[in-house]
Symmetry: C2
Subunit: 172 residues, 2 copies
Amino acid sequence: MVSPMEHTTTDEDRDGQSPSEDVAAQPDLDAELAKVEDRWRRAVADLDNLRKRYVRELERERAAERSRVAAAWLPVVDNLERAIAHTGDRSDAIVEGVRSILDEGLQVLERLGYPRDEESGVPFDPQRHEVVGLVAHADEAPGTVVEVRRPGYGRGADQLRPASVVVSRPKE
Amino acid sequence: MVSPMEHTTTDEDRDGQSPSEDVAAQPDLDAELAKVEDRWRRAVADLDNLRKRYVRELERERAAERSRVAAAWLPVVDNLERAIAHTGDRSDAIVEGVRSILDEGLQVLERLGYPRDEESGVPFDPQRHEVVGLVAHADEAPGTVVEVRRPGYGRGADQLRPASVVVSRPKE
């Protein structure tokens, strides 16, 4: 090694003030300082980005867990509905009880952010509808939901499942 | 400011080799470098701690959301149970249907990590039991769960609610 010295100059020095005999070696320490400052700034920026990313990720993970757990209950709700459908127009204490339990389940879904979607007479929308049948229909415009076979729950990004629908066939 | 110069020496310089005329000002840049290095190291350590904390937080938030959403369904499960209890020993299609829907709900809770707790004949445990009654009991040791009025769900940190129980009274 020719010289172990690592002196550095500041801008003031370079602007003409008393350059010392080790001026050639001084840029090294300046460069080192700039390098470490750069590393520090990048670490601080990373920290900031990571915090922001975590806030978004936490909300996304919460929503995913909410949707996973809520979806696990859909078979229970569907079966309550099926049990009621099977009773026809019979009405006694247990049928009334099951009806009110179904209502309660639908309210739970709604409060969690997954309102029921069983609207018919609306235009087919691939975001909320899954076509399970096409029928010729005299009164409805083509591409209209004419029957909801199974209701959907939730909308947009918060959808547990789309509604299964029958749609009026395009005119020939 | 007497001198705008901020020259700094390295260890090699201080070890006796050709100190320059600005040796008095050099510790400033050394100190500055040490300060920035320290900041950088702290930012890197913060980054590391943030990552570790986030992993723990993520799991905690997921568990909290799971428990919040699952707990919202407990009234539905309780009401299914009540509806069945009201039918006495009647058995027809809808009663059988409701029984199997209740079973389905209990399986959902179990799969989510909240098994049903309706064990009687066990010693009272404040972690899993909430006392709703005390009775004199000839056959059971004092402090034994002699009746479960309302089942609990989950255990330990993953408890949705404790079981409501009647406990045998301490002997007088």
